[in-house]
């Protein structure tokens, strides 16, 4: 093993030794917790990402041991490498917090804030960011920009108005697929994610753009409007996939698979497989395997307690086994005289409608309207 130089860096008063060449953001993430700056465009699994959104700005109070002058401006921690003896202030610096609130305001300038409709709500980084670092109001008085709708094929839904132009999906297409067909067209206010002359994204690994998108700009059409993420049961599962790692998170309602995503770590990035490679998953796993029988279920996925997704979920293997019905046993072998089957009356979650099997979003005809004929 070659000799590696280690640098000592202090983030918010916590000192850590990291190898030379590590960025401030990575060093802060090794410390973990609130010290790690948020990142909207930087994605550690994608080469060249970062430096665009400015949410990870930090203050460098001391450049290094040899040159202790502070850096004159806030620096983007995802692109600045550490120096020996560097002192970084993140949440302890008022300048950083103020700048970050400003950045959030800029990011939200054109954001439609249609979270009630958006499928990303509940796992959206922009929601988290504006909740943690933003201000409640905006000073913007003009019309928000809108775009002509682009169709990206049968699996991926693009909502350009929600996009924050982080370029993550562009890097994903560059680095995972052999030919990128989408990119950012036009400049400035008109810049938009699009394919040049309506093409569909149909590479086998292109579905990963959904997972890397920090907002709801790119979402899964097979999951569109099916359910809110926090009502679904995330389950770790795997299958023997010839093209990808096959290690995924299934999002179930009951035994129905509503959505398949890659497994994400605490930074919202794709988890590594045991052999150390990022666990990208292929389109077949993501879009076509919507039967629970096609997967080997490992168990419920651990979700951060602070996340809305963890509401109503219990630790351990609760919900993995169906409890035995004890009524007959304690009632001398008789079934109850009066037993209301909720499906006789309720029209929600009907056993004969399998939403997971429907390709696109459901519409009025999906639900055979018994009484609510709209």
């Amino acid at each position: 093993m070659s000799e590696q130089t280690f640098f000592k860096v202090t983030v918010d008063g916590i000192t850590i030794e990291v190898p030379a060449g590590t960025t401030i953001l990575q060093a802060a993430r090794q410390i973990g917790g609130e010290v790690a700056p948020p990142a909207m465009c930087y994605y550690s699994k994608l080469e060249g990402s970062g430096g665009k959104c400015r949410t990870c700005l930090v203050e460098v109070a001391k450049g290094s041991e040899k040159d202790p002058r502070p850096m004159p401006k806030l620096v983007a921690s995802c692109r600045t490498t550490v120096m020996d003896g560097m002192e970084v202030k993140n949440i302890t610096s008022d300048k950083v917090l103020e700048a970050r609130a400003g950045v959030v305001e800029f990011l939200l300038l054109n954001h439609p804030l249609d979270c009630p409709i958006c499928d990303q709500a509940g796992e959206c980084h922009l929601q988290d960011l504006s909740f943690d670092h933003g201000k409640s109001g905006t000073r913007y008085e003009f019309q928000r920009r809108t775009f002509k709708k682009h169709d990206l094929g049968q699996h991926i839904q693009l909502h350009m108005t929600r996009c924050i132009l982080c370029y993550r999906c562009v890097f994903t297409a560059d680095q995972l697929t052999n030919k990128r067909v989408h990119g950012i067209l036009d400049r400035g206010d008109h810049a938009e994610i699009a394919t040049h002359i309506e093409k569909s994204l149909d590479n086998e690994f292109i579905g990963n753009v959904i997972d890397v998108c920090p907002v709801g700009a790119l979402t899964d059409k097979t999951f569109r409007f099916k359910n809110r993420v926090w009502y679904l049961k995330p389950m770790d599962a795997h299958r023997d996939c010839p093209t990808c790692s096959g290690r995924v998170t299934l999002w179930n309602r009951g035994d129905e698979v509503y959505r398949v995503t890659a497994r994400k770590d605490e930074w919202g990035e794709i988890e590594d497989t045991p052999d150390g490679k990022p666990g990208w998953i292929c389109n077949t796993c993501r879009f076509d395997k919507k039967n629970a029988s096609e997967w080997v279920i490992e168990g419920p996925r651990a979700i951060s307690r602070a996340s809305v997704i963890s509401q109503g979920h219990y630790a351990g293997n609760v919900g993995m086994t169906i409890p035995t019905e004890t009524f007959k046993a304690v009632n001398g072998g008789r079934a109850p005289h009066l037993l209301m089957d909720i499906h006789d009356e309720s029209e929600v979650n009907q056993p004969d409608i399998h939403l997971g099997q429907i390709q696109g979003p459901s519409n009025g005809t999906t639900f055979n309207n018994k009484k609510d004929n709209a």
Binding site: D114, C115, P116, I117, A121, R224, F225, K226, N227, R228, W230, Y231, V308, Q311, M340, D344, E345, S346, E347, V348, N349, G360, P361, S362, N363, G364, T366, F367, K371, D372, N373, A374
Partner: protein
């Protein structure tokens, strides 16, 4: 045992006198109280004919609101259901297709929306949570029913009449402004 207060009275074990054994005086005393109530103001009302006014903060049966053009406001975002402490609200979302723009306000709408009124505790948190002004608690309460089935309220029970097509019913549902 030490008494906690000085209000305790020892029970008298004295044998009753002749007058006391007749009970007549005590019966008369008791009847006096009974008859005196005939001349007092009645605290009760004759309910179905007479009705008490609700308090201005009364929270009753839910209504699903429409906008001025009669389109349903609810987009099935699920925030009412997640806020509901009794887990009484369930829904099923669907995408608005072309030609339904006059029915639903947003791209997504609640194809099914159910409130189990047996579970509901009328706390009003759904009203607080709603980002679209779609659900309100009205000044009526759920009428009695013989079966449990009758308490699962669907969209047809909850939706306010359309102000465009059923103006009279809408005005009636809206009630008088206080």
């Amino acid at each position: 045992m030490q008494a906690l207060t000085n209000k305790a009275q020892a029970v008298s074990r004295k044998p009753m006198t002749f007058l006391e054994r007749l009970y007549l005086i005590n019966i008369i005393k008791g009847m006096m109280i009974t008859f005196s109530h005939m001349f007092k103001k009645q605290p009760t009302i004759r309910y179905p004919e007479e009705k008490r006014e609700f308090s201005p903060v009364f929270r009753g049966l839910h209504v699903l609101n429409r906008d001025e053009e009669g389109r349903e406001r609810c987009t099935a975002c699920g925030l009412c259901a997640v806020a509901c402490p009794a887990e009484a609200i369930t829904m099923e979302a669907a995408e608005r297709v072309e030609g339904e723009e006059n029915l639903y306000k947003e791209e997504k709408y609640a194809a099914k929306y159910e409130i189990n009124m047996l579970r509901c505790i009328f706390c009003g948190l759904c009203e607080d949570a709603c980002p679209k002004d779609a659900i309100y608690l009205s000044e009526t309460f759920a009428p009695a029913n013989f079966t449990r089935k009758g308490f699962i309220y669907g969209k047809s029970d909850l939706l306010i009449p359309n102000p465009k097509t059923e103006a009279d019913a809408f005005a009636e549902a809206k009630g008088v402004e206080a």
